[in-house]
């Protein structure tokens, strides 16, 4: 213990004595540990921390899939869910729910749009949460449409009702219907998504078709039941349903995952890749500090030799050296921890809206333990090689030489190995970053099928008794379009129930059957379905390839018409022109009502494909029908194309909507450019971070190469002098040093290429439009690295070439 204290005190004195060295090392380590801790706190918050529910690992999420139809994740149908819920030996409780938004009004104040979920009675017991006020739902609450009771979030209670303790029993308006508040949930509970109001599902089992796959489902497993058992049993039930309900369930299977896994599924690969990348940066920083220590070790040979001569054993010397390096990394760790607090905030602000579990990110014992562990580990990591070198010293020769040319082969080769490793690591990181950047550029080249510039979008859901008649909906949107069109600066206005890139989180799939084919499930072709109003295609500049767009004659009384996209036209009708005049019928169901149209629609136009879900996805088949001929929709994503900055028209849009009906708020007002940018959000962040880490790695490697070469030049001063005296010219000396540095770099590059070849496969699922072994990246990145290394070698080489041989020779 006293020796440890002694070592610590001596170590501290050494660090204080060599302030320059200490500062460089602490900065490198602080940055490395800080970045690692920040990324780890993200990983911790999102991936490691359990969900804030009791026994959260027993909560599962149930999804549908239909491999034959190419559907890998899907919502589920309420009737299937009811069948699964019968398995009471599997599940302690189950719940189905839907999400959406609603106009929420209270006390006569202007209504606001809030996220709302309709949940079955078991919802709160699956999650295991209790209200802080009032009660949760009981079966008697679910009396169908419209709902009569609601539970609100703690946040809404605080904000809208000033934490009124007498809130339970109070009446509010939800989409102009009266509701009674029966409970308030605890702070922080907003599942699913950011739900503020929970209502009953209002599912009508008699009307609900089995293929209305719009529901989400969760369940709490009984103790002793694991995920696999649940999966097997549910799959077996589904196989049964497949036979029993061919028409609606053919090919549909189910798969379960823990709720936690489900929530982080999309972001997990990025986070892990980032953690790996930032780990590499720390390793490179360690290699640099180790090299600094080795250089210093050479200067400390005499001290160590004297200690050894005084009787210090090898382990004793080793321990003292390690104490010093761990002390150094501990200081770096503290700096890193402080830095990480700031970095974490920065990271959070970079993440796209709606990224999961952000609320869970912060510094907890796990993050602290990580920072501590990483610091200790790095201390040992960068300290062990120099310490071993120092402790292996041959005392007599070191004392005799007085530390002059004691720099042996061992130390030099240790430095070379560190340099090679450093170069290899940074090459791998650079290749990874190169691939991600290339993917991102590819993504930006993706033609979404529409022109996002100068487009403003907003959502509007008409609610209240006025709009129970479908024709009222149609009329409202028709009038809105006419009003908007005459506003100066508005070039086109229209709307669709689902916009490209899915900004309202709302997509509708429908089947269709070309005329002449039997009306069976086997003949139905899946398509994205949009009911549109106004000048939708012109507003988004989706090109018309043949035929015409919808006109006012395509009303409820006119012949039924449809517009299809290019892919559909080519796939099922031969070509855009051949499709005109052909007919199809639409086949599906929606929200409790069978929506098979019992008539044929004539194809009057073919438009270009648009990206529906994301830029990375395939557009697939798309069909459009006029709102006047599919009038059930009270909901529209509005689109207006403007002459100038679209954001400036938000007020105009709100004004025109309120002029028609002051009780209808528009929400999610955004420019289409924003939507495109946000659809790339997670990718952008991981690309940016990867690029930052890679550049940091490149810089560290360059500094490392420079440091090693500069040190080597001072070590070789005399040799260089001799060579010059023997006839070496400046260019020979330059070549000598550069060749040494570049040989090491080249070995590092070769090793790194091998590593990159293996490791980039791990980020293959983060890539788009570029192979994990993209030849261009695998050639360009090494060239970049070699060039940077050349510059890093050139500086010490130039110094060597400028040596005065008479002085260099005199150095002995």
């Amino acid at each position: 213990m006293t020796t440890l204290l002694q070592d610590l005190r001596y170590g501290l004195r050494m660090l204080l004595k060599h302030k320059g060295f200490t500062a460089v090392a602490v900065i490198a380590l602080g940055l490395g540990i800080g970045a690692n801790t920040a990324i780890f706190s993200l990983v911790n918050g999102v991936l490691l921390r359990p969900l804030p529910f009791p026994d959260a690992e027993r909560i599962i999420y149930i999804e549908g899939k239909n491999p034959a139809a190419g559907i890998t994740e899907s919502n589920i149908s309420f009737l299937d869910f009811t069948d699964w819920s019968q398995q009471t030996d599997l599940f302690a409780s189950t719940a189905a729910y839907w999400t959406g938004t609603a106009n929420f009004g209270a006390d006569g104040a202007e209504p606001e749009r809030v996220p709302r979920a309709g949940v079955t009675t078991g919802f709160f017991s699956v999650l295991g949460v209790q209200p802080v006020l009032g009660r949760t739902f009981v079966p008697e609450d679910d009396k169908g449409w419209p709902q009569s009771v609601a539970i609100i979030s703690h946040g809404l209670w605080k904000r809208r009702f000033g934490s009124d303790p007498a809130i339970v029993g109070k009446q509010v308006q939800m989409s102009s219907w009266p509701l009674t508040i029966i409970g308030v949930m605890p702070p922080g509970f907003e599942y699913p998504e950011q739900t503020q109001v929970w209502v009953t599902t209002a599912a009508n089992l008699r009307d609900e078709p089995r293929d209305n796959r719009v529901w989400s489902a969760i369940a709490r497993l009984n103790t002793g039941i694991d995920l696999k058992q649940a999966q097997t049993r549910l799959s077996a039930i589904n196989a049964q349903l497949d036979k029993q309900f061919r028409e609606t369930n053919k090919g549909w299977d189910v798969f379960v995952s823990t709720l936690h896994e489900r929530l982080v599924r999309e972001i997990k690969p990025s986070l892990l890749a980032l953690l790996g990348a930032v780990g590499f940066v720390l390793l490179i920083a360690c290699a640099n500090v180790a090299n600094l220590l080795l250089a210093r070790g050479a200067a400390r040979q005499k001290e160590i030799a004297i200690r050894a001569a005084m009787g210090a054993s090898r382990t004793r010397v080793l321990r003292q050296m390690l104490t010093e390096s761990v002390l150094l990394s501990a200081i770096g760790g503290v700096a890193g921890l402080v830095l990480s607090i700031w970095l974490t905030d920065l990271l959070m602000s970079m993440l796209p809206e709606g990224a999961p579990r952000l609320g869970q990110i912060g510094i907890d014992y796990r993050v602290l333990a990580f920072a501590l562990g990483v610091s200790a580990l790095t201390g040992i990591l960068f300290g062990i090689v120099p310490a071993l070198q120092a402790s292996k010293l041959d005392v007599t020769s070191a004392l005799k030489e007085g530390g002059r040319s004691g720099e042996g082969h061992r130390r030099t080769s240790a430095r070379s190995l560190l340099l090679i490793g450093e170069v290899a690591l940074s090459l791998m990181l650079l290749v990874g970053a190169g691939l991600l950047i290339k993917s991102f550029l590819r993504l930006q080249e993706v033609r979404p099928g529409f022109d996002a510039r100068n487009v403003l979008i907003a959502n509007l859901a008409l609610q209240g008794p006025k709009y129970r008649d479908d024709q009222q909906n149609v009329e409202f949107f028709r009038q809105l379009k006419e009003r908007l069109e005459v506003v100066p600066g508005v070039q086109a206005a229209g709307g669709s129930v689902n916009l490209p890139l899915n900004p309202s989180g709302y997509a509708i799939g429908r089947g269709f059957i070309p005329e002449g084919r039997p009306l069976t499930v086997d003949e139905a072709k899946d398509a994205m379905f949009s009911t549109i109003t106004g000048d939708y295609f012109r507003a988004l500049q989706i090109p018309l390839l043949s035929g015409r767009t919808f006109e006012s004659r395509d009303n409820a009384d006119g012949p039924k018409v449809v517009i299809i996209n290019e892919t559909t036209a080519k796939r099922y009708f031969g070509s855009p022109t051949a499709a005109i005049g052909k007919r199809l019928s639409i086949w599906s169901a929606f929200r409790g009502r069978r929506r098979d149209e019992k008539f044929m629609r004539e194809i009057v136009g073919v438009v270009g494909d648009t990206k529906t879900g994301s830029l990375t996805g395939e557009g697939g088949a798309q069909i459009y029908v006029p709102h006047a001929q599919d009038s059930q929709w009270n909901f529209m994503g509005l689109v207006i194309r403007t002459a100038g900055d679209p954001a400036a028209f938000a007020r105009t849009l709100r004004h025109e909507v309120q002029a028609l009906d002051k009780d209808q708020p528009i929400y999610n007002v955004r420019t289409m450019d924003d939507v495109v940018a946000n659809s790339l959000g997670t990718r952008r962040v991981s690309m940016q971070l990867f690029a930052v880490f890679a550049i940091a790695a490149l810089l560290l490697a360059a500094i490392g190469i420079y440091g090693v070469m500069a040190y080597s030049v001072t070590q070789r001063t005399q040799e260089i002098g001799i060579r010059m005296a023997l006839g070496a010219q400046k260019s020979d000396v330059l070549a000598l040093v550069i060749r040494q540095g570049m040989t090491l770099t080249l070995i590092g590059v070769v090793v790194g290429l091998g590593g990159a070849f293996v490791l980039t496969r791990l980020i293959a699922n983060l890539l788009f439009g570029v192979a994990a072994t993209d030849p261009l990246t695998f050639v360009a990145i090494p060239l970049l690295l070699l060039f940077v290394a050349l510059v890093a070698c050139y500086l010490p080489a130039r110094r060597a070439a400028r040596l005065d041989p008479t002085i260099a020779l005199a150095q002995s």
Partner: protein, 220 residues
């Protein structure tokens, strides 16, 4: 062969003062001479030799080597001239520790325009001539001081220089080893090589045909 006119070497000191290491040196060395430069420590002997060896370029005056006016040559031309004409032997041998005897001998050749085969031939000849074939794969630290200096001399003359410069070549050697080196110098001189050596020993100077005395930068 060599003519020096008004040669001087000045080191600037602090506060604008100067320190004259060599002053107004006027010397002639004929082809085939074996000259010894002598004088007390600090007299400027090494300085003069480094100027002659073209390691040092910061001097004034005129220096003719054969036909060439060294003081008018650009650095590149100087280096070429030096590589063609001059070999250098150091007091402390200055063999490269990490290279074998063979490789040490190859260094000067690697900086001159010789093919690989020529180089191998020249190294082999030199090893033979100095009777150190058996030592070619040894490292300097495995040789005695005398043997190391033998290699140093061999390395200095391997590229067939006309002029051999040696700065206290026997300064680190026992007298018997020193005598061997001097005998070697004598032999080289007899074969036609011009030699200029710095020495503190009258005995060594006796091997040569002329002695130049330096004192405080002056020829006396």
């Amino acid at each position: 062969m060599i003519t020096l006119k008004h040669l001087e070497r000045v080191y600037p000191l602090a506060q604008g003062k100067f320190f004259y290491v060599l002053r107004d040196i006027n010397l002639d060395f004929a082809e085939g001479e074996f000259v010894s430069i002598m004088g007390p420590s600090g007299a400027g002997k090494s300085t003069l030799l480094h100027i002659l060896g073209m390691h040092d370029h910061a001097w004034g005056g005129e220096y003719f080597l054969g036909e060439a006016a060294v003081h008018q040559l650009k650095p590149k031309a100087r280096a070429t001239l030096r590589n063609e004409q001059i070999g250098f032997v150091f007091q402390s041998y200055h063999l490269l520790d990490d290279l074998t005897v063979y490789e040490n001998l190859d260094i000067p050749l690697s900086y001159r325009r010789f093919s690989k085969a020529e180089r191998a031939g020249m190294v082999a000849d030199t090893l033979d001539r100095f009777n150190i074939v058996g030592k070619k794969d040894l490292y300097p630290r495995q040789l005695s001081g005398g043997q190391q200096q033998l290699v140093g001399v061999a390395r200095a003359i391997i590229a067939n220089p006309k002029l051999l410069l040696a700065d206290e070549p026997t300064g680190n050697l026992h007298s018997s080893q020193g005598e061997e080196i001097m005998a070697l110098f004598k032999k080289l001189n007899d074969e036609g090589m011009t030699i200029i050596q710095v020495t503190h020993s009258e005995k060594n100077a006796a091997y040569g045909n002329r002695v130049i005395q330096l004192r405080d930068g002056w020829v006396v």
